[in-house]
């Protein structure tokens, strides 16, 4: 693997910390994507199926 992805993956995770709570940026991104998918699934209209 080469390029920006390799350099992004090839170092220890960066953590965000508030008191007792800490989370890696990668895990935070995954959770935010899941929340966005959840919101999109509710808000985006489903294509109309057969009558």
């Amino acid at each position: 693997m080469t390029g920006w992805l390799a350099s992004f993956l090839d170092h220890p995770a960066t953590y965000l910390k508030w008191g007792w709570f800490q989370i890696s940026i990668s895990n935070l991104i995954v959770i935010l994507i899941m929340l966005a998918l959840f919101a999109a699934a509710i808000l985006i209209k489903f294509p109309k199926g057969r009558e």
């Binding site: 995954v30 994507i33 998918l37 959840f38 699934a41 985006i44 489903f46």
Partner: protein, 210 residues
């Protein structure tokens, strides 16, 4: 055709199956209008991801670590197994959020909810044993970190995370079997009771077909 003998367990099972899950419910070709929403897609997306996990896992089991650690196609299959697990959990959690906020245990569906919740827990155990059988330094580190936790709660003698043979058999045989059965029962229960309607649906739509 003779009248079924109701003393026979086969006849009782058959009549119970036909009463509770007739073929029209088992293989429906239509769903209520409220099912036309993206939020109802994540259950089947979870099952689709599980299918990819099982298929790639079977290939990994046949080819072995010497193949999936060294060859390009082996690395690809190994990655496909890993990433389909990530998709599986993401879809399952979104499915869980959706079902929680629509109180999907309504309408006598509590056992559907419970089998789903137990399947979630078994999935975590299956994924955990998967991390332990990667046969690399990552699995070695995870097992040596985890052993103290399991020993501290007194289960280390039966569930030995540093025992590769035990973890491998749990990961490829016992836990997938339990998860497969739970998934099957969960889906059959959804078929039997129907997909849960929205909370604000009119009462007539909340009635469950017997």
């Amino acid at each position: 055709m003779s009248t079924p003998t109701h003393e026979m367990w086969t006849a009782r099972l058959r009549s119970s199956w036909q009463r509770n899950l007739p073929i029209e419910k088992l293989l429906p070709d239509d769903q209520p209008a409220y099912v036309a929403s993206w939020i109802y897609v994540f259950g089947v997306a979870t099952i689709a991801a599980l299918g990819v996990i099982i298929a790639s896992g079977i290939v990994l089991a046949f080819q072995g670590p010497a193949w999936y650690h060294t060859s390009d196609i082996g690395n690809f299959t190994n990655s496909m197994h890993f990433w389909s697990v990530q998709m599986f959990f993401a879809f399952m959690v979104i499915h869980l959020w959706g079902k929680f906020w629509m109180a999907a245990w309504r309408g006598n569906r509590v056992r559907t909810w419970i089998t789903g919740a137990v399947a979630f827990v078994v999935s975590i155990a299956t994924a955990f044993t998967g991390y332990l059988v990667q046969t690399n330094f990552d699995s070695q580190w995870i097992s040596f970190e985890a052993k103290d936790g399991f020993n501290s709660v007194g289960v280390g003698a039966w569930f030995t995370v540093t025992n590769l043979g035990q973890m491998l058999l749990l990961h490829v045989a016992f836990l997938p079997l339990i998860l497969g059965v739970l998934t099957l029962v969960h889906v059959l229960m959804v078929r039997r009771r129907g997909v849960v309607p929205p909370i604000d649906a009119i009462p007539a739509n909340l009635e469950v077909r017997k």
